[in-house]
Every structure is written in C-alpha cells, then in structure tokens.
Amino acid sequence: MIESPHYTPEHEIFREGVRRFVTRECVPHREAWQKDCKVPRDVWTRAGELGLLCPKLGAEWGGGGGDAYHGLVIIEEQTRAGFSELAFYLHSDIIVPYIELYGTDDQKARYLSRMATGELVSAIAMTEPGAGSDLQAIRTRAVRDGDHYLLSGQKTFISNAQVADLIVVAAKTDPDAGSRGVSLLILETADAEGFTLGRNLKKVGCKAQDTSELFFDNVRVPVANLLGGEEGRGFYQLMQRLPEERLIMAMSAVAQMECGVDEAVAYAKTRKVFGQRLIDHQDARFKLAECRTTATLGRAYLERCIDLFIEGRFDARDGAMAKWWTTEKACEVLDDCLQIFGGYGYMKEYPIARRWADARLGRIAGGTNEIMKDLIGRSL
C-alpha cells in the first residue's frame, strides 16, 4: 500500500486501466514477443490510445499531466503481471521530457502530441562500444553542413531502436570541447539515409524489449532538430535528467523485489518438504523474513524518494543512492527467493526465474552501480 500524501484515488483509477491493458493485451502475447525479442509496433499505438503513454507530459501536449506516481503505477502493474521488460517508461518518462524540457517551441509542436498518442515511438542513443557510463568519451560526430548536421558513428545497447521513429542521439559537435562539445540531435528514422539498424542483441533477460546496435554514416539531420537549438548543451541536458532516470530504475527494482517475495512466500506456504510446509522450516522462514524486511525498507525509501522528487528536492546524490541500493537489493532478494523455489526457480515458466534474470540489468543500466558509488563517494 502506498502511503505517500501525493498518491491519490485518481492514481488507483489509472492503475485499473493499466492493469487491464497489461493483463489482457500484453501478457497473453508475452512468450511470442519474447521469442521475437521485440513487441509489435501496434502495442505502442494501443497504449497511446488508452492514455497510458506520457502520463506526466503536460495536458496541452496530449499528456496526462500527472506525476511520478503515475509512472510508478505503470511499472508496478507491468512487474506484477510479469511483463516488466517493455520500457514504456523509457519513451514516456525519460525521452519525452528531453523534448518537453529542452526542446524548441517548434520541436515540441512537431513531436510531443504525436509521442503521447504512440504515433511516434522514441529511443535514446548515448552508449557506444567504447563509451558507456563514461559519456565524455563518445566518438559519434555531428558535423555542421549548411542547414544540416552530418551524423557519423555507432551506438550500442539502444532500447526501442527496432520500433523507434525518433532517436535522440548524443554526438560531439565540438570534439575539442570535452563535455561542452556534446549535443543531442533528434533523428527521424523514416527514410534516414545512412542510418542502419544493427543486430537486435540477445540478452540475459528483458527478452521482449529490443536492444540494438545503430550505425550512422553521414546521416543528414536538419539543424532544426538540434535539441534546444543550441550546441554543446547535451552533456548538461543528460546530467540533468539522470536523477529521474535513476529514480525510475529504483521503482522497477522495488516492484520486482516485492513481487519476488510475494511469490516466494506463496510458494513456501504450499510446497511440502520433509513432511512440513517449506515456510515451517525455520531457515526458509527467516530468509523470507529478511527478504520481506528488505522489500519493506525499499518501499519506504522509494516512496520517500518519489516524494522528494515531486517536491523538487531529489538531487543527483539521491538518484545515485536510490539506484544502486534498490537494484543491488533487488538482485540479492530475488536470488534468495529463487532459492526458495529450488529447481523450479531455474525454470523459465516460473516468473521468479525471469525476474531474477531481468533484475540483473538494474545494476548496470543508467550508470553502473560502481558509477553510483563514485558519485556518492565524491560528495562525502
């Protein structure tokens, strides 16, 4: 139960809609989509139709005008249904805000309402084969050529790329200017000459979520698509957005560990071992008690973080703490929960197995947990 004063009955109504969509229109297809390593494009359109995309975007752009708890609701419902991997939040709460917050009036007018309907699906391309958390080392170049930039380079680990109509690409507009030489360009993928979608990479988990390599060979991007219209702002824009991205990852991690504990407790109450229920064995009961305690602390901490965020008081250090702690604990808790299931826990038909595999990404994505500790350590 969410205890925050910011969480209202309206969120609960929204939750009902999300739950119906996820359980009726996603879960029945999950296995097929996982085999394909992506979801069909119309899943996005349908989510848009139902008003489930961009819940936080301003209503003037067709968004829901909501808050971070709407994002949490979507993540929780997806996670509970065992379909956490599809990153609606990446589009809705990570990429759309770049345009809403930093875009020019023209960019907002061109894109935002179409992103809210699902007509345009987005991806963001930061990571390169040689530059992950170390963003300043990116080598993708954007060279000004009249009214265009010529974009060259390659990116990897890009979620949503298989279905994306828009890709926000981080590129160097001035390779000698360090972090001040990074800019964000909005690439429209349709008919973009020189743009090649690489392999859809096979991953440990998060199977229905596509993750791809991208190649750019002198792709022409209009100057009007430079985010915000000013060069060199990209690094700053990215840094500004990271606390929220990390908060979203914390939402996912907490939801994942709560579901894992619920499932493990339910299993331990039915499964008989040596003539008694598994939960009647003290070691299993104590393990589950510890897991439940961690999840309960995680929930309290997450809600406090969301409240701070809504109140405008959630800073970079908070984001780093929330992200590493929740993702680390999610993996620990889910590993203990998997153990409760014994051999069944290793079988993919059991949600716990998929949760275990899916959660592993949390410690890497959004800046590795080592980067998080570095950030916190520098602020000591």
Binding site: R285, L288, A289, E290, L297, G298, R304, K373, I376, L380
Partner: protein, 387 residues
Amino acid sequence: MTAPPSAPGDRAPVTILPFQPEHEMFRDMARRFLQAECVPNREAWEEAGMAPRSAWRRAGELGLLCFRQPEAYGGQGADILFSVALMEEQVRAGVVGPMMSLHNDVVAPYVELYGDAAQKARVLPRMAAGEWIGAIAMTEPGGGSDLRGMTTRARRDGDEYVVTGHKTFISNGACADLIVLAAQTEGGISLFLVETAGLAGFAHGEPLEKLGQWSADTTELFFDEARVPASALLGGVEGRGFAQLMARLVEERLMTAVGAVATIETALARTIAYTAERKAFGQRVIDFQNSRFRLAECQTEAMVCRVFLERCLMKFMAGRLTAEEAAMLKLRTTEQQNRIVDACLQLHGGYGYMLEYEISRLWLDSRISRIYGGSNEIMKEIIGRSL
C-alpha cells in the same frame, strides 16, 4: 574526547520528523549536560561500572528524566521526539550510562500506563527527579526472549507477596531504587513495582563484565522470600504481565532503532573526518577508491535506515506502528549498525582497535543491540509468522 562532527548527509532537508524549536532547545540542553558533566567523567564511571547517583539527580534537575510523563507526575507531557533527541545526543556524545532512555522510555511508561493512581503518584515524581532510578527485570538465567518460561514466583501471603527467584542481565540492576519485576503468580505472569531500599531477601550481584557498555551496570538480581506489599502489584490485577510486556515492546524496539541509526550516523561522521585527514601512500585515505566506495555504501544504508526509522516514528505517533514493522526496524537497523560500525573501524586501521578512538567503543557498544529487546532471531520469527 572531542565532539563528533555533525551528522552526515542532508539530515535537515531529508527528515520528515516534525521537530519544533522546543525540541531543539531540549537537544541543546541535553548536549551541554552530556558534554560538560558526563563526558569528562566517562572513564571513572566505566571503572566503577556505572554512572553515579549524582548524575541521575542532575539529569532530573535539568528535566532530562521522565519528560514524557504528565506534568502532574513531574513530567512535561512531552512527545517521543524529545526521547529521540536525547538518544541521538547521548549516542553522539559517546555516553552510555546513565541509561536515561531505559529509565524514561521503558520503565516509567509501565507505571504511567498500567499503574493505579497511588502507584503513579508515588513512583513517577521520584523517577522524574532522579531520586529513584528505574530498572526492569524480565530475563532469567534460563529464560531470555522466552518469557513464558520464567520461574521467579510471587506468592500471595495476606497483604504481601513473597518473591523468590533469580534474574539476570538487568540494566541499572545495581543502582535501581525501583524495579519493575516480572514474576509468576497464581493468575499468570504479573508485574510488581519493587522498591529495593531496605528490602529484606533482595540482593543484586556485582556489575557483570561486558564486552561494551561499561558505564551502564548490568547485574543479577536475587530474591529469596522477599516480601513486597500487595499494593506493589502493577495495576492491582494478577496475570496481566505478559500482555503488558508485549504491548511495550514495540516502543522499546523503536527506541533501540533510534539508537542504532544515531550510532550509524555518528560512526560515519567520525570515519569520514578521519579518512579525510589520515594519509597513506601519499594520499588521503578517503581518496582511495575502495574507501570512497565503502563509505558511499555505508551512507546509503544509513539513509535507507533513517528513512524507514522516520516512517516508523511517524506511524508510531499516529498509533499505527505494527509489531511486525517494529521487528523489521529493529532487525535491520541493528544489523546495519554492526556492519557499518565494523566497516568504519576497518577504515581507521590500527587506530580503530585502540580504545582512545571512539570508533572502537562504538563497535564494542553496538554488539548488544542485535541481542537485547528480543534477539534478532526473535525479530525474524515475528516477521516470519506474519508472512
């Protein structure tokens, strides 16, 4: 000993606790008392195994005792945040004895909540003044967390009860004037307000030698046909003791967690200060990546513990804190207390093993928190049964 640096992290913007100016004034006064009148005597009190009666009297004069009791009984009708402030300051000052929280938050409430008017009028003003020091006696050599197994008996004999039995690990046991004693009666477990002065058949042992907490006495108590008046039966009805004890455990565990989180924050503040000063291999210890990462981990754990503690305190004040939540809180904050203080000691290197460094004392004093107030295994049972 120097005062620790201020608490780490963004305590002020993060806290959701409704501290008011009067809490801060109280906190300042407590800090002054601890720094000026306790810290300089700490070693002498450790040598003696307890704080002297004069320290209790002085605390009473200053209003640091039983301030949550009603004004009619010598208190100030204060809320739990005053107890939180006192506990935090006591931990930060490194002062274990006098164990004011035991006296204020554990013992006195039994009298306030379950005592009759005469009992309250007799006991509470004396406890508030520091004239009487309180203790509570539950544990026996053969029964710790397992209360129902206690063997101390109180047999009714006319206008008196005759008490026989053996208690152990009793904090304030050597200095207590008033002991809330749990004993078996015909109607089940009952609590008695035992006044120790001149009580024939009562004796306490020498303070037990402990791993830490040296300025707080912990003793055995012996009752051999000790006669207490029937009016000593708490609340006047036999057999209520078990329920009374159970009902008070939530708050006891909450206050244990307040101490645990204060210890964590104090240890971290000291360790950050130490590693920022100490050089090794030509750079500051804090500049080594491993040090920074360990401290970053500890700070985050500290933050999570504080957030959960504050949520539990708010729920407690709203009358909504459950036994399971209190068990989770006690379990996790005391586990983290021990882990973090250990990590902090490690970052002090050899100095961390020397008693002149505060971190070594925090390490020694912390070990008990995983055992008392119901061992952490009992906490897991409580949580486990509620799953």
